[in-house]
Symmetry: C2
Subunit: 350 residues, 2 copies
Amino acid sequence: MITLSVDAMGGDIGLAVTVPAAVSFLAKEPNVRLMMVGDETLLRDALQATSAPMQRIEIVHASEVVGMDEAPQHALKHKKQSSMRLAIEQVKSGNAQAAVSAGNTGALMATARFVLKTLPHVDRPAIAKFLPAQDGKVTLMLDLGANVDCTAEQLVQFAVLGSELVAALYPDKKTPRVGLLNIGTEDIKGTEVVKQTFGLLRESSLHFVGNVESNAIFGGEVDVVVADGFVGNVVLKTIEGAVKFMGSAIKEEFNRNVFTKMGALGALPALNGFKKRLDPRRFNGAIFLGLRGVVIKSHGGTDAVGFEYALAEAYHEAQADSLAKIEQGVSAALLALEEKRLIGQTGSLH
Amino acid sequence: MITLSVDAMGGDIGLAVTVPAAVSFLAKEPNVRLMMVGDETLLRDALQATSAPMQRIEIVHASEVVGMDEAPQHALKHKKQSSMRLAIEQVKSGNAQAAVSAGNTGALMATARFVLKTLPHVDRPAIAKFLPAQDGKVTLMLDLGANVDCTAEQLVQFAVLGSELVAALYPDKKTPRVGLLNIGTEDIKGTEVVKQTFGLLRESSLHFVGNVESNAIFGGEVDVVVADGFVGNVVLKTIEGAVKFMGSAIKEEFNRNVFTKMGALGALPALNGFKKRLDPRRFNGAIFLGLRGVVIKSHGGTDAVGFEYALAEAYHEAQADSLAKIEQGVSAALLALEEKRLIGQTGSLH
């Protein structure tokens, strides 16, 4: 039995999204218990109106809610009874194996770092996400915005974290292929930090395939793509923007005249398949990676379908016992790299 | 009469692309002369087989060709008789109003900088491109890869250059809206350099609308989007990757079974409209901005249709006399900003 804690009040809409998602998720997954964290009265009312299996739901009362625009430091100091904070504390105390929230990203990251702390040898957690690639494959990309100014050492930590996560979640990917996001595949490309990172990754025990350009994300030739949080976030939003732009372009073309409109009728099954395949809700659920606990961030504006995908991501990680595997792997990889570099430095003194 | 110089040997294929593109372009534009720069014998043979109006074509012999993988410094030192170099020199000497090349980007930029020099007050040239936005609009984005590590002052120069280019090319956009690419619209977002740039742009005489996220490129809410060359190049390649990925996804959906295949027949006019709208060849022609001369870079792998769009971009700039306007505007804007900052610094001493 896996237990997930849910920040039931988080997100732009809160209960009206989290409760239906939880009910639908429980109906599909018989081996899950949910701790719904939020206003007890409101939660009880919302759940009562549903067919939820109450024996697999525990309501944890939280008297406060973190606002979607609230400053992370404010939330950390003044919202100690928030649904977000208490949901994360369930993971800290071991009551739950993963927490899910659609709340304010900055506050969620600050709270998760404060409550759970980072893994040994990891300076800062990163935000990671599986993105759709060709032939139904997925590519893990990180960091997606937690760290804008990164050192080469931090980028290497992200690479190790990403590699360990993929290995933990996918038994057929024991040595994930890691690529460094760059503006060309040649060794000499990129900013100073990216060039340093390239050198470090080449010395690491990872399956480092070298520099990759952003189209590699879609190609499925790599399992992990590493970038700093500024570049990663820009890539993510560019993909979202491009998908939306192309979606409206195709709509406009089918609405052009009576013939194209008739054509759209026959094309509906394919168009719906296309729409479904790129539905951003299916890729909802960003992973806070590098913490001593599993925290999944749902998009704040998603609906119940999207939030259910975030719950599924949390379940997948908890089931695979990803955290224990990552902790072990990260320690080994980062220690080995550190040793190699120390030897290298000593060597160069002679 | 406008004269363009064409590096006829540049690109993955060279003459087989540049010659048909030139012939087709001359047929459409009666007020253009082309200087075709390359191997005289090969050029004459290639042109003879066409219906080209020879009275509007001048062949300029060049005995060398810059390789697509040749190091920029090597090309600069050892290929002084290359088609690329001689094409740019036609602009320097005033024989042509703009040069077009599908050659190696690094070598083209190094050669263009060396031969033409930068505009006053401009440290380094940038690569800019018009990208497709909603409702047939376009957004100019820069830098697309010429400068990976940028200072705030350089980013401001790019903003000024981009704004002046749009104002010069589009009479209805006298004060182009300039956005700074960031990972959120709040003032406090971004890397240290981006935050500094934000401060400088706010003091500038530009119509600065603030931080924009990358989806703003498609929205048409801004006319110019500024980023460093690393981020800009990543955005460009992410768009290219996303468009290709979605194109193959839609193909796969229509090939799924006999019903979807039948549906595709009726949908063909709309699908072709969609394909045409996002055809990357229509957006071929990157602009080297900040030089004392107009240089347009065509994609190295494009076909004759794509190369013709690059010729059209060069023609558009030459016709609008964009260079003279940009030179004047850039001087005024950068001097005004410099003065303001000096006053600000003096003021803060009291």
